[in-house]
């Protein structure tokens, strides 16, 4: 290896990985597209049962956290360690809020006997079953990505605290940030597809 670190290369690797993540979700969006075509009416009906206020709130929370992550990278570049730590903590806090909201949302649905293989969905219209099936799979997988993103941000935070991430070397933080933006980006597609359908 050359002693100089090739940050462009590291970024290329990360972007390639992000492409693969997008395609991972792409497979699910293909399913969504086909089933939306097959059961448009039920998808609209199912969408009305989801809580748009919580959904919108979560969208805002993620957008804000994406901004603060980006800001923390700028802060590190300007050698303002304290600021970067504060911004990252805030982003992590946003992640927690997102998950708590999700918890209440899922909880309420499960309370109403709407979850995969529940009696209500089994006996109800097939279109609704598919809508909620996809809802749980996609938001579940997205939730998992939120958690992974938070782990990455936490690692970056720890590395900042130990001065392993500095103005000269911040690829880890940048890549974690990119991952966090991806989580945000996917949510921006998930939100209208489920909450605002028709």
């Amino acid at each position: 290896m050359t002693s100089k670190i090739d940050t462009t290369g590291i970024r290329i690797g990360m972007w390639l990985f992000l492409y693969s993540e997008i395609i991972l979700f792409g497979g699910l969006f293909v399913l969504y597209a086909v089933y939306f075509h097959n059961h448009a009416q039920y998808f609209a009906e199912g969408g009305k049962e989801l809580n748009r206020v919580i959904g919108a709130l979560n969208t805002i929370v993620l957008l804000v956290s994406s901004f603060t992550v980006a800001a923390s990278i700028t802060a590190i570049q300007r050698e303002k360690k304290g600021q970067a730590i504060g911004l990252l903590l805030f982003s992590l806090f946003c992640g927690v809020i997102f998950l708590v909201n999700k918890y209440f949302e899922w909880g309420a649905k499960i309370h109403h006997d709407i979850y995969p293989n529940s009696a209500t969905l089994q006996d109800g219209a097939p279109g609704l079953n598919i809508f909620f099936g996809l809802y749980y799979v996609i938001t579940g997988l997205h939730g998992l990505h939120v958690i992974i993103g938070m782990v990455l941000l936490s690692i970056s935070l720890a590395m900042i605290l130990r001065n392993r991430i500095t103005a000269a070397r911040f690829s880890m933080l940048e890549n974690s940030g990119l991952y966090w933006h991806l989580v945000d980006l996917i949510w921006i597609f998930v939100f209208p597809l489920f909450y605002l359908v028709l």
Binding site: M1, D6, T8, G9, I12, G13, L16, F17, Y19, S20, E21, I23, L24, F25, G26, G27, L28, V30, L31, V34, Y35, N38, H39, Y42, P116, N117, L121, Q122, A125, P126, G127, L128, N129, I130, G133, L134, Y136, V137, L141
Partner: protein
């Protein structure tokens, strides 16, 4: 050539000793060899499973195993061969070993990620073994895991698809590593049209690995979710569509066959010019056709589903696209043959195996057109014809390219030369056995014998017996080749740096290469297949 220590003597990172020097290594060459031993193990295992299957089919009725075991066994044969041999074989072994060298650099861009990919590969393999013994036993679904059967069967599908998921991850990260290495680590003086064709083919493969693998990952996740949660995404009663599973599955698994064959084509593109002492015919055409196969190959997946109940329009479109993929493949065959035309051909085991490749791959490609045309496909769909076609391409193609690569790069990897005679004997036995093994299957398929069936009608017995006989010949041939190679490891490391007269960069360094690959800065040629120096050298030596 200055005296240098080979990478066998120099651990990377420094200071590691014994087994740790291998298990914690960042050296792409050591990782390539570690992949090699693991992959050879899987290959021999799955080959023997295949032999047992064919033994069972040699006579009508029960011969050596019951139908349940038979079903699990062909699934296991398929899963191991696909996910643990054909997909990783050439990229993970020879790609890891030679891609950085051919690019004139010292390692891949992410060496630690490379090590991580190896561990993922090993874990995936271990999961596959675990699934044999835990839960309901190994699945009996075939390697395609079609729903609804894969959701309902008692076999341990979840563990097996987890294994495939992990192996997919490993393959994808290797691809990611190669693309980044290709762009960022390439020698500064090496332009795009100065890159050896093997590396080009790996680059095209790597893109398919990155872009197609996540689709299979999500498909396998969905199969697991269906098994645990019974969501019903592929169940018609619950509003799902089983056909969508097949679409998602083949969206990866068809591009995956190009992951399997493209590196093999790259190997052949290296070997043919070296032993013809002549520059490769149509270098740019081969580069373009590799990329064209990668792109077009990603758009043909539904030709596996002509009889699944798709619309006629999709059948038409996918059939057309399938025929288009045949063009770049034929361009390559044309280029190889033209390279040999009026060349100064020197026979050697790698060249012999490459010639077998061209012949068998051509048969595989042409039978592929029979299957790609919607009309004829309906006649032979899901028969032994498909099995024979697939093995002609994957085994006659990639398998023989793999053997050719082993024989071509063996002296470079280990610094030893093997004896030619057993290599030729093994190769001839393998090729003859291959033809005996698969040609009867082509005929059986056209006569209507379905694939994956445990038993058959009396009129198919002769063909099945012949195929079984060919299978034994084939396995003996392969074992002769392997044993010959392994025995050569006892020889002294005396292989010269360039035993074949190769022109790409790996032949400019010692065999086996030193840890940092290039002790002196590599000299990048204007064109990687310029044989004028090699020819001048051999004239001087009076050969």
């Amino acid at each position: 050539m200055t005296e240098t220590q080979s990478f066998f003597e120099t651990p990377s990172p420094r200071g590691q000793t014994g087994i740790k020097a291998w298990l914690l290594t960042h050296d792409h060459k050591r990782l390539g060899l570690m992949y090699m031993w693991a992959i050879l193990f899987w290959f021999v295992l799955a080959m023997l499973l295949g032999l047992l299957l064919r033994t069972e089919l040699m006579g009508q009725g029960r011969t050596i195993m019951g139908p349940e075991v038979y079903n699990s066994m062909f699934t296991l044969h398929g899963v191991i061969m696909i996910f643990l041999f054909v997909i990783p074989a050439i990229p993970a072994i020879f790609g890891n070993f030679f891609l950085p060298i051919q690019l004139g650099t010292d390692d891949v861009f992410f060496p630690r990620l490379n090590l991580f990919s190896w561990y993922l590969f090993m874990f995936g393999g271990m999961f596959a073994i675990f699934s044999l013994f835990f839960g309901g036993g190994f699945p009996d679904t075939g390697w395609t895991f079609y729903v609804p059967f894969s959701v309902g069967t008692k076999g341990n599908v979840s563990l097996t698809v987890t294994a495939a998921f992990i192996l997919g991850m490993s393959s994808m990260l290797t691809g990611l590593n190669f693309v980044t290495t290709f762009h960022r680590m390439r020698h500064k003086e090496m332009g795009l049209m100065q890159i050896p064709l093997f590396t080009w083919s790996l680059y095209a493969t790597a893109w398919v690995q990155i872009l197609a693998t996540p689709v299979i990952s999500i498909t396998f996740v969905l199969v697991m979710m269906e098994r645990f949660l019974a969501i019903g995404l592929f169940e018609p009663d619950k509003g799902g569509d089983p056909l969508l599973y097949q679409h998602l599955f083949w969206m990866y698994s068809h591009p995956a066959v190009y992951i399997m064959i493209l590196p093999g084509m790259g190997v052949i593109s290296e070997i043919i010019p070296v032993f013809s002492r002549k520059s490769i015919f149509g270098y740019k055409a081969i580069v373009v056709s590799s990329m064209a196969i990668a792109v077009a190959g990603s758009l043909v997946w539904a030709h596996h589903m002509y009889t699944s109940g798709m619309s006629d329009v999709s059948v038409f479109v996918f059939s057309l696209l399938t025929f288009i993929v045949a063009i770049p493949s034929a361009v390559k065959v044309f280029s190889w043959v033209s390279t040999m035309y009026r060349g100064s051909i020197q026979m050697s085991p790698p060249l012999f195996l490459s010639l077998c490749f061209i012949y068998l791959f051509t048969v595989g490609g042409l039978t592929g057109l029979v299957l790609g045309a919607a009309g004829t496909d309906i006649h032979v769909h899901d028969t032994h014809f498909v099995v024979a076609h697939f093995h002609f391409v994957m085994f006659g193609g990639t398998g023989f390219a793999f053997f050719a690569a082993l024989h071509y790069w063996w002296p470079k990897m280990f610094g030893v030369m093997y004896s030619f005679r057993p290599a030729y004997i093994g190769a001839v036995l393998t090729a003859v056995g291959f033809v005996f093994h698969y040609v009867p299957m082509l005929i059986l398929g056209m006569q209507g014998m379905p694939r994956r069936y445990y038993d058959y009608l009396p009129q198919f017995e002769t063909g099945n017996f012949l195929a079984g006989f060919g299978g034994y010949l084939l396995c003996v041939g392969i074992l002769v080749m392997f044993i010959n190679l392994f025995f050569s490891l006892r020889n002294d490391r005396t292989a010269p740096a360039d035993p074949w007269g190769g022109t790409t960069l790996e032949w400019s360094i010692a065999s086996p290469p030193p840890m940092e690959n290039f002790v002196a800065p590599p000299e990048i040629k204007g064109f990687p297949y310029d044989f004028s120096e090699v020819i001048a050298r051999s004239r001087k030596e009076g050969r």
